[in-house]
C-alpha cells in the first residue's frame, strides 16, 4: 500500500514522527508537504463536507480509504502495519503509552514559546516564554528525561520496549534531536548524565534507512516556525 502523509509544509513538526516510522520501515509514501498544492489538499480533508471522519488537524495519514489523524494514533496504526511495535496486546499498549508520554513532553517543549496559547505569535509572549522556559529546563525536562532513562534501564538499555526497535524509539530520538536544537547547553549537560538516552539517540539516527533519510533533501532543518525553537534569549 502506498500511504499519503498530510502535514504543513516547511517544518518537521509532529509530521516528523510519522515520517521517521515510514522511513525506518522503507514504506512507500507520498509526502504531501513537498507538493505545491499541499495546503489546499490538506484543507480539502479538514473542511470537506463529504469527509465522514474528518481529522481535527494535520498530521493525518491516508491508508487506502482510511484517514487516520492524531500522531500517536497514526503510529498505533503503523506500528502494526509496519512491524514497528510488539505483536502482543500488552506490549502494543505499553509502546503506545510511551508515545503518549512523549506527546506530553513535546507539548510542553512547544508551550515554552507559546505559553499564552497557539493563536498568538512568540513575539507577543516573549516575557511569559522566558518564565515558562526556566520552569521547563529546571523541572519538566529533567523529569521526562529521567523517566525515559529509567524505562531504557529497566529494559536492559537497548530499546524502550523488548529487543527490537519500535516507533517510540524513533520518536524519542527525534525529541532528543529537537531538544539539542532548542536548548543545546542544557541538553548536552542532561545527556551527559543520562548515557542510555544519549546512546539511544545516536543509535537510532545511525540506522541505515534513517541515516539516508536525514542526509536527503526530504529532511528539513529545524527552524523557528517549528515545535522545537532556538531562542537564546530564553536562557539556554
Amino acid at each position: 500500500m502506498k500511504y499519503e502523509l498530510y502535514y504543513w509544509p516547511g517544518i518537521q513538526g509532529r509530521g516528523e514522527f510519522v515520517r521517521l516510522a515510514l522511513e525506518e520501515a522503507g514504506a512507500e509514501y507520498e509526502d504531501v508537504a513537498l507538493e505545491a498544492d499541499a495546503i489546499s489538499r490538506i484543507r480539502a480533508f479538514l473542511e470537506g463536507a463529504d469527509i465522514s471522519r474528518p481529522p481535527f488537524a494535520p498530521p493525518f495519514l491516508k491508508a487506502g480509504r482510511q484517514i487516520i489523524g492524531q500522531t500517536p494514533n497514526i503510529l498505533l496504526y503503523l506500528g502494526e502495519a509496519l512491524s514497528l511495535a510488539p505483536k502482543e496486546a500488552a506490549g502494543r499498549l505499553w509502546t503506545h503509552q510511551l508515545q503518549l508520554t512523549l506527546g506530553d513532553f513535546i507539548d510542553e517543549a512547544h508551550d515554552v514559546h507559546h505559553p499564552l496559547g497557539p493563536s498568538l505569535y512568540y513575539e507577543q509572549q516573549k516575557m511569559e516564554s522566558k518564565q515558562r522556559a526556566s520552569e521547563f529546563l529546571a523541572s519538566r525536562m529533567p523529569k521526562f528525561l529521567d523517566y525515559f532513562e529509567r524505562v531504557l534501564e529497566g529494559n536492559g538499555g537497548h530499546f524502550l520496549v523488548g529487543r527490537r526497535i519500535t516507533y517510540a524509539d524513533l520518536s524519542l530520538a527525534q525529541v532528543l534531536a529537537g531538544l539539542r536544537y532548542a536548548f543545546p547547553a542544557s541538553t548536552k549537560r542532561a545527556l551527559r548524565k543520562r548515557s542510555r538516552l544519549a546512546e539511544l539517540g545516536e543509535k537510532v539516527f545511525a540506522r541505515p534507512r534513517i541515516r539516508r533519510y536525514l542526509d536527503s533533501p526530504r529532511r528539513l532543518a529545524f527552524n523557528n516556525d517549528d515545535v522545537f525553537r532556538r531562542y537564546p534569549e530564553l536562557g539556554d
Copy 2:
C-alpha cells in the same frame, strides 16, 4: 476481572474519564483515590524499582498483572474489554482519534489557568491566565466545539461513532460539564448554537448507570484544584 484505578484524591481530573467508562459498563473496580493510603499506593507504582513498565503519572489502571497508563490508552484498552468501542479496527482507531482530540481540548482548558506551566500556582500566573482565557474562549473553545458538533452531525446526530455509545461520548459529555462549570456563560451561549452537542451531553448524563454514579457520593464536585476551574476574574 476487578480493576484498580489509581488517581489523585480530591479531584475528578483525568481519572474521571476512566471512571465514567467503568461506571457505564457496570465494571467492578476499586477507586484507590477513595482509600486513606491512596498517595503511598500511587507512589509505589510511580517510583517502585521493581515496576518494569512504570506509568509517568496517574491515572493508571491495574488490570490483572497489567499496569496501563495515559488516559486515552486506558480507554483504548477498556473500549475493547468493556465493549465501549467498535469491534472493527477502523472504528476503534477513529474512536481513539476522537479521544485524543478531546485530550488536546482538555489540555487547553487546563492551560487557561496554568499558562506558565504546571509547577507554579494559579495565583502566580493570574495576569497571564486572563490573556490565555480570552484566547481560549474567543478562538480555541469554539473551534473544538464546532469540530465535535460536525462529527455528531456527520454520524446522524446521535453518538460520535456508529449507533452505540463509546467512551468518546462519555468523555465528551464530561468535557461539556467541565466547561459549564468553568465558563458557564460562554458555554451556555456556545451550546445554544450547537444543539447536537447539548443533546449528547444531556443524553449521556441521563443514562441509568451514569445517573446513579453522578448522584452517588463517589462523584466529587468540580473544584478549583481540578482541570476545569471557575475563576470569574478570567472573564466569563
